[in-house]
Amino acid sequence: MAIKTEEMVLNMGPQHPSTHGVLRLELILEGEIIQKVTPHIGYLHRCFEKHCEAMTYPQIIPYTDRMDYLAAMYNEFGYVIGVEKLLGIQVPERVEYIRVIMGELQRIASHLVAIGTYGADIGAMTPFLFAFRDREVILNLFEITCGARMLYNYIWVGGLSHDLHPDFVRLTREFITYFRPKIVEMNELLTTNRIFIERTANVGILPLETAINFGITGPMLRGSGFKWDLRKDDTYSVYNRFDFNIPIGEGKVGTVGDCWDRYYVRILEMGESLRLIEQALDQLPEGNVTSAIPKRIKPPVGSVYTRVENPRGELGYFIISNGTTSPFRVKVRGPSFVNLGIMDVLCKNHMVADVIAILGSVDIVLGEVDR
């Protein structure tokens, strides 16, 4: 008589240390081998899009902060560009430069969380704390600028809420000189660690074809070897004035598009962001950051789709205006949400431990997945 066997269903989350928030993954296991992964989302749903319809345009900005709370600056950035396009206003040069500086600092801070928590997922706690120590410096920079450390409400339609703190430029330069060696340290501690490579190389390989079919963007797409970065390919703000590279995954230790590649793209991007900040600080013009802020924001009837390169990928805002002070509809195309959709494909036939490695390399923020 044959022994009756059945697959085991394992619920990972929503209270699990490494699902990066309140994500529930339903794993169908055959022993320790994954047969199927179903992400269940919605534990953090706050009706962001519906909410927008009842609020005026500037009131929405703090709400965009709360989507991708690790990259709040960039969420504001994308939204504000959209509204400015609707209004058809031009913002002062200084504002654009400060937005780029803040956006790139935010990118470093966000990647530091991604890298640090990824190390912790693989089992190395120390890189996690090192990453948070460095992120703290960036958060202090944000704090002297606008008083907030996570949810800033700093980038406004037509300008900024405050000008830079007098010490900001000096402190940011200090941060750049401080941070460069820390990337090397991180590489020595984690990136080139034999066990780390064993755990991440050739795990969760994402072929380019699949990535494009799933609409994957950001470091995940670049990790699969495609040079696609909206800062260059659909340039916005003043990004076309700077010289920077787009790092892509090369399969240095495994196959192109594995977890290690996705991780390493983030490490390289931090270096590129530092270069961008340096150039922006050098060229930073004088000016008034609040002069172009309109008194009344009431865009004409019409719609606009803007997209920016958020630390996690393409963040798009589709805004329809019906000529009143509130938008008729705001639709967000969130990179985390789209990137999360590929979990099942990536995890198939891997082990339970790899699910954690893969989820960490996707780098989701549940606030933005659920909105």
């Binding site: 085991m8 394992l10 699990h16 240390p17 490494s18 320790e32 190390g119 912790a120 997922d121 693989i122 089992g123 190395a124 706690m125 120390t126 704390l129 090192f130 120590r133 501690l189 984690l190 660690n193 066990i195 780390f196 064993e198 755990r199 082990m351 339970v352 431990a353 790899d354 699910v355 954690i356």
Partner: protein, 366 residues
């Protein structure tokens, strides 16, 4: 064996019975490590781990309770004692209650056979090393019980991994220990330590006592043996990079996820006691046990009573040194995956240990 004789004499004088004296002395002397070594060491090690990890990570660690937080573990133990002992309805109650006891006693039994100094060894049995290996095998049963009775999928996965891991890594451990048994011809840890007396070049890692040709031939194979043994003992006590059974980021806390209060503390203490136990075994086998690397202060001063105390301090510091290395590794390295862990054991450690065994055997015959 001064402690044993002392106890024996007291009981013998009262009861005039050799059997009673023997049994009482043996039981008390074997139980002594629990109160005076296992518990204080566990408390010290938990605090050490927190401070070591904190300083490695640019943090301060516990600072509030006592100077530099040295009372923190005691406060934690008191907190755990007050906690409710939760047993869920679906838990298999007898097994669930038995598991922590088994795990703790398994790691504590090892202490009974450790040679702390020439004056004191919990139980001076001739099969010391074999006893230690057998006793640590107890732990597997306890972990499996904990995983099964918790009725939790994470616990079960953790327990299965743990059992596979500990059983696998016992093989290279035993193979390395066999090479030592082959050279020295003894399984008594006290005799083994006595053989490595004198200066540090008499330690087994340097080929043991004497000045024959085989001593120098042994050295490279002893170093290989030491590294193999150290790696496999790391895996046996579930420390990073082999802490797969309680991989926090995957399995929450593995087999002790469902435990609370003092039962959890027993698993916790067993882990730290085990850390010292395996370090002590490594130092007893390769690093001269309780022997000082260079003479004794007591002998120089003519105070022979000082020698056993010095020996105890040497043994403890060697053990704690290896514990610190374990902590250093834990806070530096990521974690292997379960199949990679098995591959490391079966594809690398066991063949290396086996070839090492054969070569050392050939040298011994020569």
């Amino acid at each position: 064996m001064i402690v044993y004789d002392f106890l024996y004499n007291i009981v013998f004088n009262i009861t005039q019975s050799a059997v009673a004296g023997d049994i009482t002395a043996m039981v008390i002397s074997a139980a002594l490590p629990l109160l005076f070594l296992v518990l204080p060491f566990a408390i010290l090690a938990v605090w050490l781990e927190r401070k070591v990890s904190a300083h490695m990570q640019d943090r301060l660690g516990p600072m509030r309770t006592g100077s530099h937080g040295w009372l923190q573990t005691i406060a934690d133990v008191i907190k755990l004692l007050q906690k409710e002992d939760i047993v869920a309805n679906d838990n298999d109650r007898p097994l669930f209650n038995l598991a922590p006891i088994l795990v703790f006693s398994g790691s504590y039994l090892v202490f009974a056979a450790l040679p702390f100094s020439s004056a004191y060894i919990g139980s001076n049995i001739d099969l010391g090393i074999i006893f230690i290996i057998a006793a640590s095998g107890f732990v597997v049963a306890g972990i499996l019980m904990a995983g099964w009775s918790s009725n939790n999928k994470y616990s079960l996965l953790g327990a299965m991994r743990s059992a596979a891991q500990i059983v696998s890594y016992e093989i290279p451990t035993i193979l390395v220990i066999l090479t030592i048994i082959m050279i020295t011809g003894t399984t008594n840890l006290r005799t083994l330590s006595e053989m490595q007396t004198g200066y540090f070049w008499n330690w087994m890692i340097f080929g043991g006592a004497g000045l024959s040709l085989s001593k120098f031939l042994f050295i490279p194979f002893m170093i290989i043996g030491f590294v193999t043994l150290y790696i496999s003992t790391l895996a046996e006590v579930n420390r990073t990079p082999f802490d797969i059974p309680e991989a926090e980021s995957e399995l929450v806390s593995g087999y002790h996820t469902e435990y609370s209060g003092m039962k959890f503390a027993m698993f916790f203490m067993a882990e730290y006691a085990n850390m010292f136990a395996v370090s002590a075994i490594v130092s007893a086998i390769f690093f001269g046990g309780y022997q000082s690397p260079f003479g004794y202060l007591g002998n120089t001063l003519g105070l022979t009573w000082m020698v056993p105390i010095e020996q105890f301090l040497w043994f403890a510091s060697k053990g704690i040194f290896f514990v610190l290395v374990q902590m250093w590794l834990r806070w530096t390295l990521p974690r292997l995956r379960v199949d990679q862990l098995m591959a490391l054991c079966w594809k690398y450690l066991i063949p290396i240990a086996f070839v090492n065994l054969i070569i050392v055997g050939l040298i011994t015959v020569l």
